[in-house]
Amino acid sequence: MLRILKQSLRTGIVTEAAPLVDDAELERIGVVLRRRIGERFGRSLAIRQVDAGSCNGCELEIHALNNPYYDVERFGVHFVASPRHADALLVTGPVSRHMETALRRTWRATPSPKLVIAAGTCACTGGEFGVSYASCGAVENVIPVDVRIPGCPPTPLDLLKGLLGAIRARTGAAG
């Protein structure tokens, strides 16, 4: 126990300040509000992450959001285990044809109003894999997408900015 306390105290707090997200930034990361829904999420966002065919690079960086440097839960963002508990789907990868139905069903299982965030270049455009016999390409080819966060993979900071932007846009508090 003493060893643990010593290590924890020596390390201190490494969590960094929240990144600034201004309107121009919001514009840049391409937050698109497809449907105006009055309902608010009370500034918190429950996210169900769905890997629809990624190379797992995006997952590594999404995991990093939970490390003590970014500590994404302090912004009210938390990852949930079921789409039925989620406000938003965070989808990575080109959608492989073998995941096409699973992704559609996950989207249907998510209660409305819901937000779909395409994370990573593959999810935004199909990326290196594109459309083929095995890949449907971009997520929007399968389900409607509200927010796009490009990058191969997007850095945790890119993801954080995209998520914060999504919450702002959704709660009508942008600007």
């Binding site: 924890s8 590594l60 080109p94 073998h98 995941m99 699973a102 890949s135 993979p153």
Partner: protein, 528 residues
Amino acid sequence: MSRFDWLSEYLARLEDDHVLVRRGSAEALAPAHLLELDAEDWSRASRVACTFDTRFVAIWGDPREGHVQVYACLERERDYLVLSTAVSLGQPVLASLTPCYAGADRMERHLQDLLGIAVLDHPDSRRWTRHQAWPDDAFPLRPDFPAAGRSPKRTAADLDYRFQRILGSGVYEIPVGPVHAGIIEPGHFRFQAVGEEVLRLEERLGYVHKGIEKIAVGRDPAGLARLAGRVSGDSTVAHAWAACMAMERAAGCETPPRALHLRALMCERERVANHLGDIGAICNDVAFSFAHVQCARLREQWQRRSRELFGHRLMMDAVVPGGLACDLPAGAAELLDADHLALLGTLDALFDVVEDHPSLDDRLLGTGRLSQADAKALGCTGYVGKASGQGFDVRRDNPYAPYDGLDVRVPVQTAGDVAARVRVRMEEVRESLNLMDRLLAVLPSGPVAVPLPEPSVGAVGIGFVDGWRGEILSFVRFAEDGRIARFFPRDPSWLTWPALERLIHGNIVPDFPVCNKSVNASYSGHDL
């Protein structure tokens, strides 16, 4: 001991068995020794190889005019042997290696699904990589199959795969996936359980099949390196290196020594980053969040440094054909030396806790035990193999530059449980730090890239790299104009996924996450 002293004995045994070797070559697929056989001798040749206690590495097919050239790679006493045969498309059948080599099972079914070669006497006739995206009479890797596919309509769910069931009083089934509860890749697990005890686990993978082998066809070398770097994102350096190694061998490229040293440096950085993340995640799966948070912190610092010095947090696209995309910035070596020293100090304190903590011992010792016999039968490499007595490491045993000048220490454990896999990973982190210091100390000067010479039509090459998960094989054949005709990457996960099915047996269902994490096989690297 001279290299390959068992080859002549093997050839003599083949002759005794009336197996005709059409061609033997030490150069064509160097460092492996290539033997070309007739298809009807395939079974006999592999049975004889099996009696030589060879380890199965991979089997793959390469579609040519009117036939498919099938290759099977084996290893014994540090030497690679590749058996090859032409299978006519008029009669696309070949004897199965699975009765001799358990690890060949899914790779042969993959060959069957993608190239339409019926594998005879295979103990499991079910499809593997194919779900519902293409019909059973179409074979995506055949040249006449368009990369865009033939049916643009929606792909149905894969409902009629026949899982094996256990019937009996109190036996129940738990289906899990493909969409899992955590931030993890998709796949399906089917448990048969009684109470909390797992009687059987069956994996169903292929959900992230993205057609990597097909969309590689026609790419230029730089395009293939980018694709190889996305076979499995967490092994981007190792896969890109293996593919570039294969291309460089096929094209006769002399890669500059500085580039090779820096590739090794990045590969070891990748190993450290992944082991740190996984050691923390394993601890987290048994509710020891202290180690998880500390490891995540160290991993983040590590990745930030990678971005600063190598241009990318995961070092993606840093390895290119002929060398590296860019050199280290000035002063990098001093920064890295200081990093390594600081990390070693922190890890001494942290690993001291992980190695000796009652609540971790209670959950990890004896959990998810993979027997040495199972690890050997499947041909597991990497930390899964090393924790179960299988010490093969390409860096030490079939060394490629720059590892040929370094003495790589390989940790081997025999317990085969989750705790042993954690110990192997901790040792590997320490050894990687040691190797990186030595690489930096002898870092050659000079260029970091040369242009890849134009490869001749039909040139083939093979690359073996020890990634953080274990041995990676990469096969490349060139067509005209330096374009890729065939790319096959064999991630070590092909052989550790079946190990997970075996090691979970008799454990309780709630221990599955920690067992799975301790193996951490790649879905993407396997599904291709």
